[in-house]
C-alpha cells in the first residue's frame, strides 16, 4: 500500500521565554531580544500514513499531538526532519476561522472556501451541497453573527469538508454539533475512506478512535510510543494511564 504522508525524524522546538522583549525599548536596553530555554515538543517522530486509511493520533494533554498536527498542516515548520505528502492536503483545525461576522453565510462560504484553497468555480459547483450538509439554508443570507454557535460550526465544517482533499487533517472538531450532525460527519469520513482519501485525526475520545481508525500512533511527551493497529495501541495507551494512577 502506498503512503499518503511520510513523516521522518520530525522535531519541533519551542522557546520558553523567561523574559521576552517584544518592545523595542527592552530590546535596546537589554541588548537582546529574549532569554529563553528550548523545549522540544516533538522529538524524532517518524511514521507514515498509508493511503486511504484513517489514522488516529492519541496521547495525553501536552504530548505533542496538536503540534504534530500543526506541522502536518504547514502552520508550524519542523526544526528538523521532513514531511512529505502525496496529494492535496487540507487541514481542519478550527471550524469557521476566517468567517467575517458582518457578512452573510453565502459570502462567508466563498471567503472561507478560498482561504481553504478552493477556486470560485469549485465553490459554485459545490455550493448547494455545502448548504445542504450544513442545514442552514433558511439563514444563508443572514450575517453569520446572528447564527447560533451550532449553526456557525456546522457551516464552517461543511465548507471545510467540501474541499475534498486527498489528505484531510482534523483536530478535535468532531466534538461540536449535535448527535445527528456528528453522525453525518462520521458518514462523511466513511465516504472519504471509500473514495481512497486519507484522514489523520486527533481525538481524546477512544470510542470514536476505535470506531473510525485503521491505525493509531500514540504520542507521549513528544516521543512516539507505539504505532500500529488501533486496538492494541489503544490498549497499551490505556494500560499506561492505569499504571500512572
Amino acid at each position: 500500500m502506498s503512503e499518503a504522508v511520510r513523516i521522518e525524524d520530525v522535531s519541533k522546538k519551542f522557546r520558553l521565554y523567561h523574559e521576552r522583549n517584544q518592545t523595542l525599548k527592552s530590546a535596546i536596553m537589554r541588548r537582546r531580544r529574549s532569554v529563553h530555554e528550548d523545549f522540544w515538543a516533538l522529538q524524532d517522530v517518524s511514521f507514515s500514513v498509508p493511503q486511504g486509511s484513517t489514522f488516529g493520533l492519541i496521547g495525553s494533554n501536552g504530548s505533542g499531538k496538536s503540534t504534530l498536527l500543526k506541522c502536518l498542516a504547514k502552520i508550524y515548520w519542523p526544526d528538523k526532519g521532513s514531511i512529505a505528502y502525496d496529494g492535496r492536503m487540507a487541514a481542519l483545525l478550527e471550524v469557521g476561522s476566517g468567517f467575517h461576522h458582518e457578512l452573510s453565510g453565502r459570502e462567508n462560504i466563498y471567503l472561507n472556501g478560498s482561504i481553504l484553497g478552493m477556486s470560485k468555480k469549485e465553490i459554485d459547483r459545490k455550493f448547494d451541497e455545502i448548504i445542504d450538509f450544513s442545514g442552514v439554508e433558511k439563514f444563508i443570507d443572514q450575517p453569520v453573527k446572528n447564527y447560533s454557535s451550532g449553526m456557525y460550526v456546522r457551516l464552517g465544517f461543511s465548507v471545510a469538508i467540501s474541499v475534498q482533499p486527498d489528505i484531510l487533517i482534523v483536530d478535535e472538531v468532531l466534538a461540536v454539533g449535535d448527535a445527528e450532525f456528528q453522525e453525518k460527519c462520521f458518514a462523511k469520513f466513511r465516504d472519504y475512506r471509500e473514495q481512497g482519501r486519507t484522514v489523520v485525526l486527533v481525538s481524546h475520545s477512544m470510542g470514536s478512535v476505535r470506531a473510525m481508525c485503521d491505525q493509531v500512533a500514540w504520542l507521549n511527551k513528544g516521543h512516539i510510543m507505539q504505532v500500529g493497529e488501533t486496538a492494541s495501541t489503544i490498549a497499551a495507551y490505556e494500560k499506561s494511564l492505569d499504571l500512572g494512577r
Binding site: K70, E107, S119
Partner: protein
Amino acid sequence: MNYIKELLASRELLVNLTLREVKGKYRRTIFGQLWSLANPLAAMLVYTFVFSFIFQIRPDKGDPSGLNIFALWLLCGLLPWLFFSNVLSLGVSSLVSNAALIQKVYFSRVVLPLSQVAARAFTWLFEMGVLVVALAIVGSFVWPWLPLVLVVMLLLALFAAGVALALAVMNVYFRDTEHFLTIILQIWMYLTPIIYPISLVETQSHNVGGIFGTPITVLDLYSLNPMVHFVQVFRELLYDNRWPSGDAMLACVLWAIGSFTLGLIIFRRNEKGLAEAL
C-alpha cells in the same frame, strides 16, 4: 519564481479578502461607501481654512491648466498621501489582527497585508474619481492624462505595499511598531509638500545654501523622501495637466520597485515563523 507562482495561485483569495474588507467596513451604515469621502473632505476643509485663508499660502497657478483653487490643488496631493498613510497604518497590524486565522489555516500569508492595500486602493480609486470629476467641472482638461495617473497610482500602491509588508512583519516581533508608525506618519506628512508648495522649500534651501559648507542643500535632503516625488507627479498630471518631469517619474518607478522587492523578501524570510511568533 516559485513564490510568484504561489502568489498567482492565491489571487482569488486576495480578491475575496479584499471584498471582505470593502464590504465589511461600511456594513450597516446609512451612507455606506460615501463615508470613505468624509475623511478627506474634512481634512480638505480644515487645511484650506488654515493654510489658504489664514496663512495665505498661494501655490502657483496650474500650468498650462490655469487652475487656481487651493482646495483642489491640495486634494491632488492629499488623496495620494491619505492612501499611503492608510495602507501603512492598516497594513502594519494586518498580521497581528488575523492571528487566529494564521494559527489555524495554512494559506499564503502575504495576502493579508496585500488585501489591505487592495481594499484601500479601491476606496482611493473612488476618491480620485470624484476629484477628477471636480477638476473637470472647473475646467481642467484632465482626461488625456488619466492613463498615466493610473500608472502612477499603481506605482504608489506598490511602494506602499512594500513598506506595509515589512512593517507588518516587524510588528509581529515588536508591537511598538504600530505606535511608532502613528508618530512617524505625522512627521512624514509635514515633510511632504502636501499642504504647502515645494517652491517654498526651494526658496529656503536657496537662502541657506550648502549645509555646513558642503554642497548638499536642504532640498537635496528633502528630496530623499519618496513621497515628494509622488506628490509632484500627481500634481503635474492632475492639476497642471502636463507631462511629469522625468526625474520625479524615474524616482517613483525606482522607489516602487525597490520597496516592493525588499518588502517581499523580508516577508518571505519571516513567513514561516509567524504562527509561533504571534
